[in-house]
Amino acid sequence: MISGGKNYVSSAPAFSNDGKRLLVCSGSTVSVFSTATGSLVSSLEGHSAPVTALVVCPASSSLLTYCWTASVDCTIRHWDFSVPECLKTLDLRFPVFSMVVPSLLSPREETDAKKRHDVFAYVSLQNDNANAKENCPKPSCGQIRKCNLTNFHAVSSLILKETERPESLTVSPSGKFLGIKDKRKLHIWKILKVDSNSAVSKKITLHHSKTITVLTFHPMERIVAAGDVTGRILIWRGFGAKKFLHSAGLVNGRSTNDEEDKPGVRENDDAESCSTWHWHSSGVRLLSFSSDGAYLYSGGKEGVLVLWQLDTGKKKFLPRIGSPLLYFVDSPDPSLSSISCADNQIHILKMPSLEIVRSISGIKPPLSHQDICEGFCSRAAFDYTSGLVAVQTQNYGIQFYSLFANRGLYEVQVCERNHQPVDEVTVVVSLVELSVDGSIMGTVEVKLPEDGFGGLVCLKFWDLDDNKRFSVSTHIYEPHRDAHISAVAFHPTRRMAVSSSYGGDFKIWVCKEEIQQKGQMLQNSGWMCHAVGSYKNKAMRAAAFSADGSVLAVAADTVITLWDPNNNVLVAVIGETPMPITSLAFVGKSDYLLSVCHNSKPQLSVWSMSKLTASWSYKHLQIEAVSCAIDLSYFAVLALLPDCIKGKLQGDGIILLFNVTDPIAVASWSVTKAIGGGLAFLKGDPSEPSQTLLTYINGDREYIIFHPFGKEAFELSTRRQDDLVFEETGQFGYTSIYGELPKLDLKRNLASSISSTASERPWETIFSGSSHMLPPLTKLCSEFLESLLEKRTPTVE
């Protein structure tokens, strides 16, 4: 079983202490990437639910590679991520949504070294039971509590704050303050130097008139910045002057009640001043101070990283990132930082110049605007032979993602346009289809009309070029006049394709190369219309070629028409389903055809081609996706569970595997997030090509590959050997400036001095010669020790 396609940007990543590794929460595992190459190095596996928080233990030595992770599965784990190994597991009994460990951040004082305090974490939990008992009018299930990590018994019963839903915690880089946002308020606690389970921290609250989305603390001073939904950034300076400092004995000169000198601060809030910056047009999503505190980074839906100079408010921009920004993380290495984007990419920035040097890219998330273009959104297309999936991306492209290797291979741009996340969606790549051997791709893009005119449908055929990448071979504008294309299907063996339209006709396209093969002339290939067909002017919603390519089935509203694709002759018309057929598939090499209807009377029907009649059918089965094995007579369907039995089974969908002759499912698996999901049979990975695997990709584009006929627990290991894990070859320090020093060639130096002596006893001659010619001792040492060890002569037996 291989799973992958996880979301890399569900929570903030973290850098290791030397800045060479980036730890990323990916589903229930933590993936460790190399920042120099951007490739996956290792992964921490152990949690059984999504990881929500990640804290790397800071250490002066880069050898210490420990981190804490918190997860929704109610545990906190302690890892050594270089090995990778789980050292400790704490069970909190509540799902954790956010965790910070302030005491790791605060600088160790001399006294601390002698008597070590316990390490406390602040966690944001979800507690459903608490409210059920108390029967509050306001359901608030989020709680913020403390947790002793060194000496763990149970999570502290002291609740710092209750919120409607679990809020994410923010800690100041100095480890002195802890803050959360709660609608239009900020709550800030001062963290005690010596913490205990029951100690109560002091709290202040800052108010704002808009909902606050994010907050961050200044690394040195008492400054807090917060972004709100309208795109404003508020900066409170000197917060907590009254409450935090007075009690600590640091009396500041002013009397506590002079309120005339607090510009911008709402009445009674405990801050010296508050200033507002406004550049973002929509909500601020990321906010972070630079490590020296001179700059503030902000970003939002526009996909522009803004760099504010804190004293003057001057701005610098990193534009055109192309996707909403989510997190900005500084690394201990001052020349690196990372930004996480909503399109499942993490960019590693070279710091002073703000230049993207690497991108770590996961599978692209489904389009967020699917509600706008209902019916246009494309499903993922699968490459049967090479185990690729082609998914549509936000920026009008297609990403090719290797399912076995769990990494993105490349992207092609379908429409030559730039995508701005804030723009209204006017162009949609509505269909992606790959041929069985994966050598041809067809895409359909739709330009939505403005006020009723200017719409355009464009069909494109793509061929693999020399670098095994798709490049466009033919553009066809408005292939079915202004009607939208409902389906594209490829001939299994020849270079032939069919496109069907809602406008009531279908066209068969042939690649020109094939036409000219008879004349022994291979010219540049282009696709041409070979034939046009229609049946009673009914809208055609699906098309499929049979396994040998001799029959073309096109669904004309509620009936299935069968055509001879070469001569474009209508062979037969079968069936009558209650609703328009939306999907058609021939079941492998068997003579059965599968049809699916949706809407009010959903139906799955199997038609026998030899008798031209219905063989069997299921009614009231909402089918989301179907897939047929290429060689076998099996097919799998992904069905949505009806509401009445949703509670009984886990998840909201079920995969059913059928033998085509038998209406009783051979096997079934229940799955989650089935809406928008896909299903495909794949050829096994190269080590065992005879196997047929089934892959399921859910609505969030997380996927799983398994043996459909196996006994469930077949473990398929992720193919990682072909992932060349490059070790960092970057140059640091001296070498980065002056380049590599020439290696001292010990052998040659020694050889010249030894030459006269017997070679069996090198230790007698190693140190002979004048001392200034000797290589340094450290270099000699290994050689010397080696010479002392007796060499075992290889024995051949």
Partner: protein
Amino acid sequence: MEEARAQKSFPVKAKVKTKGRSQKRSPEWKYWSSFKTHQIPNLISVPSLTFSPTPPHTFAAAHSASLTLFSPQTLAPTATISSFSDAVSCASFRSDSLLLAASDLSGLVQVFDAKSRAPLRRLRSHTRPCRFVHFPRLDKLHLISAADDALVKLWDVAEETPIVDFLGHKDYVRCGDSSPVNSDLFVTGSYDHVVKLWDARVRDSKSSLHVNHGAPVQDVVFLPSGGMVATAGGNSVKLWDLIGGGKLVYSMESHNKTVTSICLGRIGRDSGEDSNQFRIMSVGLDGYLKVFDYGALKVTHSIRFPAPLLSVGYSQDCSTRVIGTSNGVIYASKRKVKQVEKEKVSESSLFWRIAPLERTEKKVLRPSHFRYFHRGQGEKPSEGDYLVMRPKKVKLAEHDKLLNKFRHADALISVLESKNPGNVLAVMEELVARRKLLKCVSNLDAEKLELLLVFLHKYCTSPRYSSLLMGFTKKVLEMRADEIRDSEALKRHVRNLKRSVEEEIRVQMSLQEIQGIISPLLKIAGR
């Protein structure tokens, strides 16, 4: 791993046009299409064009009762001879370009000094309109002429007397040519379908050889070897082997109306495998110029002109090609000579004059000279060098730059002024994608609106653009109805628009009628 930066600059591009399948860009195609055509208008039907055989290769065009000499460099008329009593039918330069002979329809042949244009000799013997006059290529003393009285005459130019009358043709003799290898051999072609080879040394006026073209012969040309002739008549150009006794070699039949004139062309290029090869250029009443490769026996190039073509000429230095039409326009084409070739010529000529005196050793460049700082920039990479390519810069047109600055209305106006409908459509589509097109239209002032209406009038019924423009036109008219009502100029454009739409509707109606007629026939044929 994927590209670091996701976004690039995508200029707005016009839709890709479908390419004709047969059009192959061979080097020869490129050569022939490197001729840039100019029109020389305001003449009356040009039946004959002839080039002088020596540089600067001026050419003479016969039109009505005058003969005009043109300079091949400027394509401007340099002189006109008009001492003719009737329409000039044919002209010919002597091999040294000093004399020029011209015939007219009164049957008179006149010989002029090509420089001073003074009439030197008047050769009168033909009784019917004389249509052919020709100086033999290797002979400076004689002249051949032929007329509608079916006679071919060889003249002694100095004495103004016909030496021999060649009898044998049974109809009008309209064309002929002299052998490029023998001063005494020449051919004539007649409307009796026969081409005859004459020998001036044989005085019994019997032709040495004759071949039957099968149609009235319009033109005949010796190929450079002297062993073959090409004849034009009817829709075909035929190649005959004279040495082999008048055998038909090939018949080229790619014209679909009468071929009126042929001449020899040469690919005047130094490089390429087909350089300095000869071609037959033929023009016909169908308006086509065809270039025929008689080695490979195929047509290698073809251009269409919008008028029936009567005559064609090609200069010996391969730089000029002229075509005369029946409606009085001469299509004169000059080849664009690359700067490099020109320089080469000038350099070599300089070399002979100055170079031998110069020091041959190379001067060492010093930093005091500005060329020191440019040294090595023109260096060509050698075989094994690794090339670091500069990333290609995306060319942005004016409208692209404006679109990048979100100045949508300016972009629309800029592209409307550029007069490329494909680009206009591309910009409109981009504006639709940005949901800004209607806003642009509502903000246009009256002057720019006029520009838009002119464009819409011109292209809204063109099938390639109509799908967008029809809807757009309707919207424009709805939105700007008030302004249009107020302005007289705009009203006029709308009237034009209306007319073109009505015209299109009429076309559609008639097409539908035709479809109605054809579809039952197709149904029957399909059975």
